[in-house]
Amino acid sequence: MTLLANILIDGIAYGMVLFIISVGLSVTLGLMRFVNLAHGAFAMTGGYLASWFIRAQDWPFAFGAVGAVVLTGLLGMAIEALVLRRLYRMPELQQVLFTIGLSFLFVASANLLAGPEVQLIPLPPWLKDPIDLGIRTLPAQRLLVVLTGLLVMMISVLIMKYSRFGIWLRATVDNTQAASALGIPVEWVYALTFGAGAALAGLGGILGAELLPLEPYYPIKYLVLVLVVVAVGGMGSVAGSMLAALVLGTIDTASKYLASDWGSLFYFLVMALLLAWRPQGLLSPGRT
């Protein structure tokens, strides 16, 4: 019974970390259908900025984190407006090559500017202490990730479904020319959405840093992890990403408790089975 509770608690906590680092990709890759393999680079940028604000500039945690998220979003918008915009009409392979190249650029820059070692984001006392759940304790930071994850999912679903911007975005992605003819400022819609995706990536980099430490190779190292979550969840579905992250996180945790000698086998086995069952992802909006 304790074992089951442990698996569920650690599984949900880990799944939420997976969700929070991949939610940005589910926006840029899923919603905008742009093959953004530089997602990890934006996540790392957010983390590095937060680390620099909080550690070197002595900003309070919340302040530094928000500042880093906003800056990463602005950087995403700038890169979108200057370069990535030209790639939308190119074949996927070009997008893959360009964004992978961009990731390597970020890897080398991080190495040059901050050195090869791990960057830490110091936690404030209110996040450091474990919280008693009755049966066992859980680090407060993990609870913050769970709550933030739920909040991010709710907000993004609300924006997509009910706001004017959400309607614009869906129209623009489905048919850019028609949307533009109807007076939707498509360039702004793309830039803002990509900026939001980058900002969410940055948020993931900051909140996920406890489990996925920030280092120069971050953009390449965790790419598979986040691509799996988005692919299994369904392109363009934030709720699907969350479901996928929770399922995969729990599977991975269960295998660590029960069959750690098998390595990451079950994680990828479940991925393969889920994709065989629903090739479009768990909660795909039904488009191809």
Partner: protein
Amino acid sequence: MKITHRWLRNAAISTLALMTSVALMAPDRAQAQVKVGIIAPFSGPFAHYGALFKAGAEAYLASQGGKLAGQSVEMIYRDEGGPNPAKARTTAQELVVNDKVDYIGGVVFSPNAFALAPVITESKTPFVIFNAATSDITTKSDYYLRTSYTLWQVTVPMAQHAAKKGLKKVVTAVMDYAPGVDAENAFKSEFTKQGGQVIESIRMPLATNDFAPFAQRIKASGAQAVYVFLPGGPPNLGFVKAYQENGLRQAGIEFLGTAETDEFDLQKFGDSALGLTTAFHYSAAHDSPANKAFAAAVAKQNKDAVTNYATVGAWDGMYLIHKMIEATGGKRDGDKAMAAAKTQKWDSPRGPVAMDPATRHITQNVYLRVVEKGPGNLLVNKEVQSFGQHGDHGLGK
């Protein structure tokens, strides 16, 4: 016709220029009497090893006034990249054949060190391993020397210490790859021999990000201590964090490690590392004049370099090369050099050390260390006890 003419003239001029430059280069080349090739990672995720090897080796050279045994020395650095035996072998061949090096040093990864055996045996080139820590590498050729450590060398004294302290039940938690399995075997065999019991052996997948489940398993196992082996960097930080966050310390489960609190990662742990115990051969906080001189020499060479097992491995490796140059008078004579190197005994920054003539591996003190706050609020590995001299316990196992 005109074109052919011009072409001929250009060709003549460039040939002449080439000949002159070769002629100009020749005396330069002859000036350095001894050449040392260093193979280390200078690019990619392990590049810090290369930087530390270089800092240690250059610092040693500078401390001797830029010459070893009166001979001027040319250092040639080559990139090892990552674990890639085929590439390491080619690199060593190039060093021996093209650059005509007299000695080879460096190498971080065991598979790469193994791959050099045929090259150094055929060319009779002494090769001083600065890091690669798998026990039986040195048995594969008579031209291997090693100034680092092996997992068995530091783990066996740790297991004896645990048994002596009265610990009866221990869990081992290692990363699931060759060195991890090696460490697990070393601890298990020695601890069982001393009358202890390893009640669970956890092998953690290399791709692990979340160590909480393992921490919970260790807690639930009812063990009094956990012996761990983790590669440096992120896994290290992740495990120690999980150890703290899941209350293993409060539950009284002792942390027994080896290289986990290495100086390169140490400051990143923050307060969560306080009180961790490890058995290892070098601490930057080792209190001796030799270590102070070493730290000062390295800082002069590269102010960002930490002094850790990699830096000290390179420093002592250069000491051996120094002694080999002394014995051969700067001539290339691999066998004479090896005969001299095998019997060296000296005062290293880590304490008294000696080469074991049988294994050509370094015999050294292994220390029990505890992480404490040192001067300037920085974390240090405080040596609290010396287990005395230990050779490599891993051969023949």
